[in-house]
């Protein structure tokens, strides 16, 4: 079992076709919706955490792509520039998933991209521009919860 966070972008042409449920039905994947935003008649964005066998994840994603869904891997979108990071730890208090965390006793900060949900908080908080500054979803949007599960 592995887990991977992906961003699915549904263009308006395919937005209303049922698709995601097949991930669990046909590919035996467990998914968590981390964030979702639908702009009616334009585009839909869903941040999914997928759990399952490596090859099943691959096949499930391939199925979505064939259906016209654009897939982006969060691991490709968020990056820490190692030589910019001073290991202050400021980002760790705001990261909702502990993707950024402190290792004691030296208090160094590690980044586990597999836990990252691309919320953009670290980009906003890091004084040294070490974290990629992206925002897929508004981190302070109404109703946003700090947890990882929907």
């Amino acid at each position: 079992m592995t887990s991977r966070n992906v961003l699915l972008i549904f263009k308006s042409s395919i937005m209303y076709k049922p698709r995601i449920y097949r991930l669990s039905k046909d590919y035996d994947l467990v998914f968590n919706i981390l964030e979702a935003k639908i702009l009616p008649r334009r585009e839909g964005r869903i941040l999914l955490e997928l759990q399952g066998e490596e090859d099943q994840i691959e096949r499930g994603l391939q199925f979505l792509e064939e259906g016209g869904v654009v897939i982006e891997y969060l691991a490709d979108k968020i990056l820490r520039e190692e030589d910019r990071c001073v290991h202050c730890g400021e980002c760790t208090g705001l990261c909702p998933t502990a993707a950024l965390s402190v290792v004691r006793p030296r208090m160094e900060v590690v980044f586990d991209v597999n836990k990252c949900v691309a919320c953009g908080m670290c980009g906003l908080a890091c004084p040294y521009g070490a974290m990629t500054d992206i925002k897929l979803f508004d981190p302070f949007a109404e109703g946003r919860t700090a947890g990882t599960n929907p």
Partner: protein, 398 residues
Amino acid sequence: MSEFRVNKTVAEINAKIKQGNAVVVTAEEMIGIVRESGAVKAAQKVDVVTTGTFGIMCSSGAFLNFGHTKPRMRASKVFINRVEAYAGIAAVDCYIGATQPRDDDPLNKVFPGRFRYGGGHVIEDLVAGKQVHLETTSYGTDCYPLRSYEAMVTLKDLPNAILLNPRNCYQNYNCAVNLSKKTIYTYMGILRPECANANYSTSGQLSPLLNDPFYRTIGIGTRIFLGGGIGYVIGPGTQHNPRVPRSENGVVMGGAGTLAVMGDLKGMSSSFLRGASMTGYGCSLSVGVGVPIPILDEEMARFTGVSDDQIQVPVVDYGFDYPEAKGGPLGYVTYGQLKTGEIEFDGRAVSTAPMSSYSKALEIAETLKSWIQSGQFLLGEAQETLPSVPFAGFPAKG
């Protein structure tokens, strides 16, 4: 005559450093030594304790002299990479302040502003050896006719570049929380509403002034690690205030002493001088400072043996109290508690995050230790110590 059992002078310690047999440890290592062998034995054994801190220190900047132009010019406005430097000094001198934003920075017009580049970044770029764009204008005089000048320069091209920070190294600081109902963007970082997170600063047990709480050994002329090079304490920093509540061990329970420091920028490194951008607040400079503390007697051994659980930090509300300059601390926590990543406040767990880098602070203390061990870095004896208050002595037991 002395009240102490161990008595050493800075000159004696320097003689040992020159011979290569001074015993130097970091403030972190000293904790265990004092705990195991007691203050007297620790003072007999250890000659110097090294400290360190790395964090955003706003009251910082650099004096730059960019050399006389041909024809001559008396610059009245100076911009470096579009960041204004204060030019009201002399013909080709200026002071670039860490918190000066770029001339065209949108500031907080679209809130929260990002303040991506400012004086601190100029200093970092210079130290990193990068070219910066210098632009000056003048009204012209008989002896200084040139009215404008532009050039790309590097640190090497500048005849003088001196880091001179009026206030660094706060002895202790607040732990910031936000009791209001909206997210706030402060110099203590982003604080979520209703006390969702708490941010703290300083390197605690490694912090220079927390290891010499009454400034017995630190003063004008103390030689220090500054921004990766060598610098000096040149006096008490602005807002230096020894008269704050202290716990039994003499350690201040909040911001208190500060240091004014200076050093040649040309010997420094961008690993320890970093431009910083604080969303919604402004830009600044992160500075690495390390101060060596001579262990003159058992009292100094005991002071430098201070650990994170013995240092109290006031919890302050930045949602209302701090901006309104009202109210006192909501309570106290220790660095020991803060460093676990969670404190208890009002009966619930609040996640904590540091603002200053403990791992860099440790790197600084370790670097300073190796400099002293190698014999190349001698202690600078303070010509005058900083304003202080009397210490009644440690409580009888322990």
